[in-house]
């Protein structure tokens, strides 16, 4: 499960020895995130984002548990109970703003984490399972975030729930029955609010469990690195602790700096004003928009405007779910043996087009549906599918990669222009 030169846990004291013989938990931690896990020495700052995502999840769970002590999942008083938290609960405003903006931070960090995986080919063999579990985590996150946004029972909560559960009614014949079954009624109401609250409390712990699998799967081959070249020997790695605990410590510090700036100085910047209006089933907001982190997918949904064999709405729903599910096939769609885009001149260009494309989709998802925006959205949606399903498979066969360094250490020393000397 690890490299032969990985250090082993050696209990120093009688007590730790006694514990180790009975429950080798400290040994497990030491090998997982301690001195016993050798990691490539050349990871850049983008490799901080996995730990940051873990930090974000921890913050969400801690603030969420306290918020749940004061929240009432009942359509008549849910909105008021949130205002009670904001006004009367000690530091309630801090907890709620931390939780709402914590969701945004979680997505910022996870999107960066995913983009890093796409750029450096982290999904390729032998790390396919790490990637697949990552996509599962992402899907769980989206479900959790959606249900969390419904809980304050404002206008966007209510109408967001209406729109998202409405996707299921696009399924032919049984769609409407499924929608009513999911909601526990014909429209979002107490039944929906209560089950969303229950699941919103459950899913983060499921996410935590899948994260354990994600890290477990990662530790079989060990971490990838910016060159994409596998570890060849001891000189290529450093122990996780103290090298990467120190580097992640810096990352976590900067993460909290940005997080705090949002909470204290722009807590409503990423939210929608309409969610400070209590839910009203009789009044539809002028523009129903989801939270910012769903906007690219929302834009894909809205881009399918023409019936072709299937109704446009069903195409939109299929495309929206498909845009995420296609990630499951990525390790087999990209057959290039070279992982890092650093050595893939053609793939790298398309990668950056994809990033711009997703930003364009995000813009369109939140903008008014005037003709110009619809057209931008449709071009961007077409590129999104073409990128993953057509361009990446083709590029991976036709591209001529640049020569790879012989080893991580060679690449590091070449960067510093030094003669090869052993590490440390």
């Amino acid at each position: 499960m690890s490299f032969p030169w990985a250090k082993h846990y050696e209990p120093k004291y009688a007590l730790t020895k006694w514990v180790d013989e009975r429950l080798p938990l400290p040994r497990f931690v030491y090998s997982a995130v301690g001195g016993g896990y050798p990691v490539p020495r050349n990871l850049n700052y983008f490799w901080n984002f996995g730990v940051l995502a873990g930090a974000a999840l921890a913050c969400q769970i801690v603030t969420g548990i306290v918020l749940a002590m004061h929240f009432a999942a009942n359509g008549a008083i849910a909105f008021d109970s949130v205002e009670h938290i904001m006004r009367d609960v000690n530091a309630g405003w801090f907890l709620r703003y931390a939780h709402a903006n914590g969701a945004s931070m979680f997505f910022i960090v996870v999107y960066t984490h995913i983009a890093r995986g796409l750029y450096y080919g982290s999904y390729k063999a032998p790390r396919e399972m790490v990637w697949l579990l990552g996509v599962v985590i992402f899907l769980l996150m989206m479900a959790t975030a959606f249900m969390g946004y419904v809980l304050p029972w404002g206008q966007m909560s209510f109408w967001g729930a209406q729109v998202i559960t409405g996707f299921f009614s696009a399924i032919p014949i049984v769609g409407e029955t499924i929608r009513v079954w999911l909601l526990g009624g014909f429209a979002p109401d107490d039944a929906a609010l209560n089950r969303f609250f229950s699941l919103h409390y459950l899913l983060p712990f499921v996410i935590a469990a899948v994260i354990v699998l994600h890290i477990w799967a990662l530790h079989i081959p060990g971490s990838s690195n910016p060159t994409g070249v596998e570890v060849k020997g001891e000189q290529d790695t450093v122990p996780f602790h103290p090298y990467y605990t120190a580097k992640d410590g810096l990352g976590v510090a900067v993460f909290f700096l940005v997080f705090a700036a949002l909470i204290f100085f722009a807590p409503n910047y990423l939210g929608h004003p309409d969610n400070y209006i209590p839910a009203n089933p009789l009044s539809t907001p002028a523009h129903i928009v989801p939270e910012w982190y769903f906007l690219p997918f929302y834009a894909i949904l809205k881009s399918f405007t023409v019936d072709f064999i299937l109704p446009a709405k069903l195409w939109g729903v299929l495309a929206m779910f498909g845009s995420i599910l296609l990630m499951f096939f990525l390790p087999w769609l990209d057959s290039s043996p070279v992982r890092s885009a650093k050595y893939r001149p053609t793939y790298r260009i398309f990668f950056w087009i994809l990033i711009l494309d997703v930003f364009a989709l995000g813009y369109v998802g939140g903008a008014e549906p005037i003709a110009r925006n619809v057209i931008i959205g449709q071009i961007a949606a077409a590129y999104y599918f073409a990128h993953f399903l057509i361009i990446v498979p083709m590029v991976s066969r036709m591209e001529r990669p640049r020569p790879l360094p012989n080893s991580i250490t060679e690449a590091v020393l070449a960067k510093h222009g030094a003669h090869p000397v052993p590490a440390e």
Partner: protein
Amino acid sequence: MIRWISALVGLAFVFVVSLGLFSSIVGVITDPAPPTAEHFVHEEHPLLDAGLPSSGLLGKFDLRQVQRGFQVYKEVCAACHSLRHVAFRDLKEIGYDEGQVKAIAAAWVVEQPSVNPETGEPATRKNTPADHFPLVYANDVAARAANNNAVPPDLSLMTKARHDGPDYIYSLVGHGYVPQPKELLAKFPDAATPKGLHYNQYFANLNIAMPPPLTSAGQVEYLDGTKPTVDQMAKDVAAFLTWTAEPNLDARHGAGLAVLGFLLIFCFLAWGAYQNVWRDLKH
């Protein structure tokens, strides 16, 4: 095999979205969307800046202004608009003392719903500092009946429930009610304000049910000697409603500075630890 399937699926999605793209482009050429009166007016008249001391990253309430705004709310807005998330006791935070809060609560025109202790019949009682501001109407039906079929919204969160809320309130009640411009009617004949509504250039659909609330200077008599122009009263009530929506703003900004200072030092130390650990290793 998987690559052929994926290419087919990819082509299908690209084809169907391209059909949509084609019809969007045809739509733009053959049937361009007509400009709307709202769009036209809102482009011409962006929100005015209320210039409140609470705006900006480090903003702080001017409590005298917030108190003046409360006076405007009490004497003008409170006739129709409730403030149900705010309690009388909260007024202590804007500088009123215990006695004043008690007096304000006891003298509030609308009373709290209650029960006659003898008969059990519905009754009302005077407000106390522990009470939230009472609802003005018993229910939406009563509110509609009294207001030409429109429900006056609760104002507790109004400045957070609109884009640029404080500027919106200031613009809407201070400078929004103008005669409907002739050019607008010439351009959009359908935009004439219906009977019973009022033209307001900052309102979303330009026609608001609320009659102009601030009509003349001196409508409210300020105790601190500030001149009660319509502009001033609009500004002050915007300041008050910023406080009702975000009463912890001062505490939040103060704590935020301390937290950022702490985290900056933490970042610096974390950076130092990182440099120290990695000092001998090229990476």
